[in-house]
Symmetry: C2
Subunit: 394 residues, 2 copies
């Protein structure tokens, strides 16, 4: 096991009706003027924004609003949010929505106290030194952004999708009411589930030996997702299944299942180019990329893939041919994704094989660059993975 720090000081406020307490938590964490940040009209129509306002009113906390966050949240709205916060002396941002809204809120939060362009933090030109505090009311179980210090923003000019991370971005509190996820269309639910599983797999495939505890914790989340996701596709109002998925989504990405081990994250990197170019859902892009990445790197550590196959998908170990077990595990993963309504190849995603050179180019490794991770990839490797993804079938 490698040395690590684990610090997850977000207060999770979980369960039915808990959004009615968000005013109390804004107060607890020092907010005196709030920006309510949200996405489309569903948060308004459902009455959620009104309940949030009522909760702030009851604590006599004033607020301003900024809606309109799109999936793959854009830099344009972040600039608008920063200006609004400065003008209105906002000292706390309350993100009401899913990962996109929370990521946008985090970008605004680091932009407010910074004199330069917030995009500097997403292009490694500046290091995040401070931020105004963020709280969240989560409405989609997916990104894990409610418990992480990460944010991904897309620069509209050129559709560059880039991430930043800092402890300063970690939410002070996150209200998680599984009921709020019951109205999600099943496609979005499945995208979220795929994202959650991908967050675990990015940590699970490691070159660090002897990490039994985090291996087992990873498998715990994966097994849960395999059990609970079909139940919410079948019955969107299954509260307990929604609750299990929602907590699994936080555990998958707040760090606890990945400490002390090298991680991968190449599938996320490759997917970002897909959703950057086509504006598709991140989870859908991952459903296409990740099993293809698995096929490409499998020979690097067949036994780890066999372990995943047996422990997560119940594939019996083929002791005479572990590669067979590993391949079957990847196939089971793809079958699972298909069964919950995810695309598994370019055509189903709405991507085009002829764009692969553009995707590889935007990935930015150039002629001699390499990624890090479980298997270090060159531009040629990324191209091969995208070619597998383009034609994948079950």
């Amino acid at each position: 096991m490698e040395n690590f720090n684990f610090y997850s000081p977000t207060e999770f406020v979980f369960g039915k009706d808990r959004e009615n307490e968000c005013g109390k938590y804004v107060k607890k964490f020092g907010g005196s003027k709030v920006l309510i940040h949200y996405g489309g009209s569903s948060a308004i129509k459902s009455g959620l924004i009104d309940r949030v306002k009522k909760s702030l009113d009851s604590e006599k906390i004033p607020y301003v609003e900024l809606g309109g966050v799109k999936p793959n949240p854009r830099d344009v709205l972040v600039y608008e949010g920063i200006d609004l916060c400065k003008k209105e002396n906002v000292d706390f941002i309350l993100a009401v929505g899913g990962g996109s809204v929370i990521d946008s809120a985090k970008a605004i939060a680091v932009g407010v106290p910074y004199d330069g362009d917030f995009w500097d933090f997403y292009t490694y030109k500046a290091k995040i030194e401070k931020a105004i505090p963020v709280g969240t009311v989560l409405t989609i179980a997916a990104a894990g952004s409610e418990g992480s210090g990460d944010s991904v923003i897309t620069k509209e000019d050129g559709m560059w999708k880039r991430g930043a991370g800092s402890e300063h971005m970690r939410p002070k509190f996150s209200v998680m009411n599984p009921m709020l996820t019951c109205t999600l269309p099943s496609y979005q639910t499945a995208c979220g589930a795929t994202d959650i599983m991908a967050h675990v797999f990015e940590r699970y495939f490691t070159n660090t030996n002897e990490v039994e505890i985090t291996d087992r914790l990873c498998e715990a989340v994966l097994i849960t997702m395999v059990k609970e996701t079909p139940r919410v596709i079948e019955d969107p109002n299954n509260y307990d299944a929604r609750a299990n998925i929602m907590w699994a989504g936080t555990v998958a990405h707040n760090g606890i299942v990945g400490v002390g081990r090298a991680q991968d994250w190449n599938s996320h990197g490759i997917e970002h180019e897909l959703s950057g170019l086509y504006d598709c859902a991140h989870g859908a892009g991952l459903a296409v990329v990740m099993p293809s990445w698995m096929e490409f790197v499998m020979e690097h550590d067949v036994m780890r893939f066999a372990q995943m196959a047996e422990r997560v998908f119940g594939v019996p170990m083929n002791f005479a041919d572990p590669s067979d077990t590993a391949r079957k595990g990847i196939k089971e993963f793809r079958k699972f994704l298909k069964s919950i309504g995810m695309p598994i190849n370019f055509e189903e995603l709405g991507a085009k094989k002829e764009d692969i050179p553009v995707l590889v180019e935007k990935f930015g490794l150039g002629e001699n660059g390499k990624t890090g991770g479980f298997v270090s990839l060159s531009s040629k490797d990324v191209e091969k993975i995208l070619n597998i993804a383009a034609e994948a079938t079950i």
Copy 2:
């Protein structure tokens, strides 16, 4: 799943040599004058206390010292610590040791800003409203006190062992270097492992339905302990096995595997009377009590015990007779405890059957009282469990 809050704002600083950074973390969390609190002479002889002092020196943080914490830490030393902190204007307590030292440090921390007797907090006479901050340098993987808001103290006059809990008691940081646990005698190592498993079982046996994610997380910790504990008994210097156990110990008790579900804790309650009366190690007492408690309550939810038997101990499910699977699981647990050197009955623990009436009396339910938990227990039930424990064999 039930509603819950999960808030674990301790920074875990994990890995080799990390104790050399404790000065940095005391500073980060606002300490300007430290009490170094520790147990016996081993922490001095090993050079650990010197390394801690050097780290404080390098940050120019002054300190005073108080050693002498015993297993089942006593109120007498807590009073001494409170007086010392007040006299020396200490504003940060650094506990260097295992659960006993940390629990003692927490008691001092709540006692310093309180005008009354700190024991009020352990007898429900007062509610903890504040504490001076505590940091830890952990030397035993067991109690989970490094990541919890709990503390257990024994009142020497009468040997009353009582617990208190508060978010104010949760350590600001915990340095966890698995190397420091390599010098532990195997008996203490095994006691720690038993305590870790017991912390999970207290949460695992629940009447809350539909808690797949926390069930699976519990099993992840238990499976890890079953794999890694025999390895450190065999080879005390196995760093990776020590590291897996140490992180498992924190995960077992910082709350994450138990949120959203009713819990039990009756085995801990009964054990406290054993270690209170005989001053035996808490883990050793649990090894005697917990499997006996399992036998007594098993019929309340046979399928949950069968699940534990299959998933944790690999007992094949007997579909014609799930009770058989459940019983075999409990037997496997007892065999496991025996194999790592733990006592499994009164004689091996050094307890006496004729003391059972005294133990039941001290447990304090009286004639009509009942505990809560997975199965609510009367004095008569506690007596029966102790009788099973007295005579237990494999």
